[in-house]
């Protein structure tokens, strides 16, 4: 206890020096917390951009469709399949889709489109496409009884085709038998989701209309599932697969988003590795600063140490005194930093950080748009990891000056020859 009191007194004796060292630790801690918050926010956005908008957490397709998507590789969508999926623990909702490739346009312009037949009621339970409406409205619950069918298109596609809400649009797509099907649609809404596949190419229409264009009935190309715990998608996928197999639907493949979006999944793994490297570098830089502060503070007091040793202080005490100083500096600095980091990161998690100044226009990375704000993610892990880490760094940094101090010869130290 004496060591602790002495350590505190020593630290307070030169407030400037201690303050600077603690300040350095605080800034480093805050920076790491903020950085982790940014990276987690970024990854979160990437995953959401892919899964929440289009991919969902699980996808169910015919095994041939998984190999090579082709309009003719659909599967029968019946109540048994739907209920089997819905009844699996962890599954929140499921929605079917018909996917066609073809031309979307009008007499003046056209573009290759992803023509997606959806259920306007269940789709929003699985994805957030409907929340991306920037003009007009989402598809009505049911098809209009007369006149053109409804379509919601991506904002990029609407710009390419120079059309807006209320305009008509034609789709021409390959049907299951290889023939060409077409349909006349009226644009009821424009979506901007941040997912470039949707924003630039999607034409969303009622399942019934898509069935007509593709000459298919009661069948779909994929069913998309939302689950409770997205990181555990592989487990839930296995559970759904087992139930489908047991019900005799073993030609269907259930894939977690990690498998559907392997590039994204890879990136998450890489980012974690990269994080570790960045962490190590920041720790190292901070460590140098702390080391310098503690060593200078120890050196300045060599005379004093000499006196203390001369009056009977043991080398072990001497050692622990300096280590405790380092520990105290670390605790105070890291605690300040944690507070500061939590505050800034918290602010950016609520308000988001506007990245539009850093990217030109409609910049996207792996299909996710960055024209938007990035919302930081703050968690116990991202808060505690840098804080505890820097306390440890401080302790480790105190070891060297502490060790040096124990090697002092009192007579030389007192006379200032060390």
């Amino acid at each position: 206890m004496l060591s602790l009191r002495m350590a505190i007194r020593n630290l307070l004796r030169n407030r400037w020096r201690s303050g600077l060292a603690a300040g350095g630790i605080a800034v480093a801690t805050a920076m790491l917390i903020w950085n982790l918050g940014f990276i987690d926010g970024f990854l979160d956005m990437m995953v959401r951009g892919a899964t929440d908008v289009e991919t969902g957490h699980l996808q169910i397709q015919d095994e041939r469709y998984v190999e090579q998507p082709a309009t003719m590789d659909y599967f029968e969508w019946n109540d048994e399949v739907r209920q089997t999926v819905e009844a699996t623990p962890g599954v929140l909702a499921v929605t079917p889709r018909i996917r066609l490739f073809g031309l979307v346009g009008h007499e003046e312009r056209s573009h290759i489109g992803r023509i997606i037949g959806i259920d306007p009621v269940t789709e929003p339970q699985v994805t957030v496409m409907d929340r991306g409406i920037v003009d007009g409205r989402w598809l009505d619950e049911s098809m209009p009884e007369t006149g053109p069918a409804e379509v919601v298109i991506g904002i990029g596609l609407s710009r390419t085709l120079r059309v807006g809400v209320g305009d008509e649009l034609v789709v021409i797509a390959e049907a299951v038998d290889g023939s060409m099907g077409d349909g006349l649609l009226e644009i009821v809404g424009i979506v901007q989701t941040g997912n470039s596949r949707i924003d630039r190419q999607a034409a969303l229409l009622h399942m019934e209309e898509a069935e007509f264009i593709a000459a298919m009935e009661g069948a779909v190309h994929e069913a998309v599932v939302a689950i409770e715990d997205p990181p555990d998608a592989p487990d839930t996928a296995r559970a759904v697969q087992q139930r489908l197999n047991a019900a005799g639907y073993d030609h269907l493949r259930v894939r977690p988003w990690q498998e559907v979006e392997p590039a994204l999944h890879q990136m998450l793994l890489y980012t974690n590795t990269a994080n570790f490297v960045i962490f190590a570098i920041i720790f190292f830089i901070v460590a140098l600063g702390v080391l310098n502060a503690l060593r200078m503070s120890a050196r300045e007091r060599y005379r004093e140490f000499g006196v203390m040793m001369a009056v009977g202080m043991s080398r072990a005490k001497m050692f622990s005194l300096i280590v405790i100083e380092g520990f105290l500096l670390g605790v105070v600095g890291a605690a300040l930093g944690a507070g500061l980091g939590a505050a800034i990161t918290g602010y950016h998690s609520v308000r988001g950080l506007d990245l539009s100044g850093f990217v030109d226009g409609d910049a996207t990375y792996m299909g996710v748009s960055f024209a938007d704000r990035i919302h930081f993610v703050i968690s116990a892990e991202t808060l505690l990891l840098p804080t505890l880490g820097l306390v440890m760094v401080s302790v480790v940094c105190a070891l060297w000056p502490a060790l040096s101090a124990t090697r002092l010869v009192p007579r030389d130290a007192m006379s200032g020859r060390d």
Binding site: M72, L103, H106, E107, D177, G178, S179, G181, A215
Partner: protein, 260 residues
Amino acid sequence: MKNSGRITIISMALATALFVALPSAYADEADLPSVDEVNEHLDELYRSESSHAELTMTIVTERRGTRELQMEAWTKGEDNALFVIRSPAREAGTATLRTEEGLWNYAPRADRLVRVPTGMLSDDWMGSHFTNDDLVQETAYREDYDVELSWGEVDGERVLQARMTPKPEAPVVFTRIDYALDAEDWTPIRAEFYENDRLIRTMEFSDVREVQGRQVPHRMRVQPEDSPGESTTLEYRELEFDLEVDDVIFTRRGLRRIAR
């Protein structure tokens, strides 16, 4: 040489691809015709103010088996062409229109024309193995390729070979096209299309019959190299040149009337 009528029905479109005005350095080789001579001859053979044809297109794919489409086609002048599918019923009325302003698909259920973007010219036409470009020959072979003639052999028969290589920096898909022409009347027999010196597809012309004094191959078969089990065959059931074709069918209004 002046523009011959751009005859857009496929065999002729490809034949006219040879119309490349350039002095041939090979003309002095023993009895080898000059490119100009071949051009002139093909020009005489295929130049027409207009044409009308009834065709059968048979598409063989590995996954879907065989599909057969009945079609009707009109051409007029250099730029106008119209293809209409007559059967099967589901596709009847689907049409492709080419005018000097561009290329359109007609969607019969929607009753609308949709412009085909130039980026889709190399895409397949109506699910067949022909491309939009085969059909309308938007690519300016005349401007983009050099032609070199030589004698060769195909299946033991002496043929006139025409090798087309792109001029420097010509915006083309194919890096080489090898034509084999009949040694006597210079009608096309076969064309091989290469991308980066890899054979992509082969087109064969057969069943040569005389129509109004012209020797015209009545059957064209395209065979993609990467799927040997697949092919598309286009056959003329009827073909007539230089008849009255009303300009109005190449407009939206006229097309709708004729397609429906």
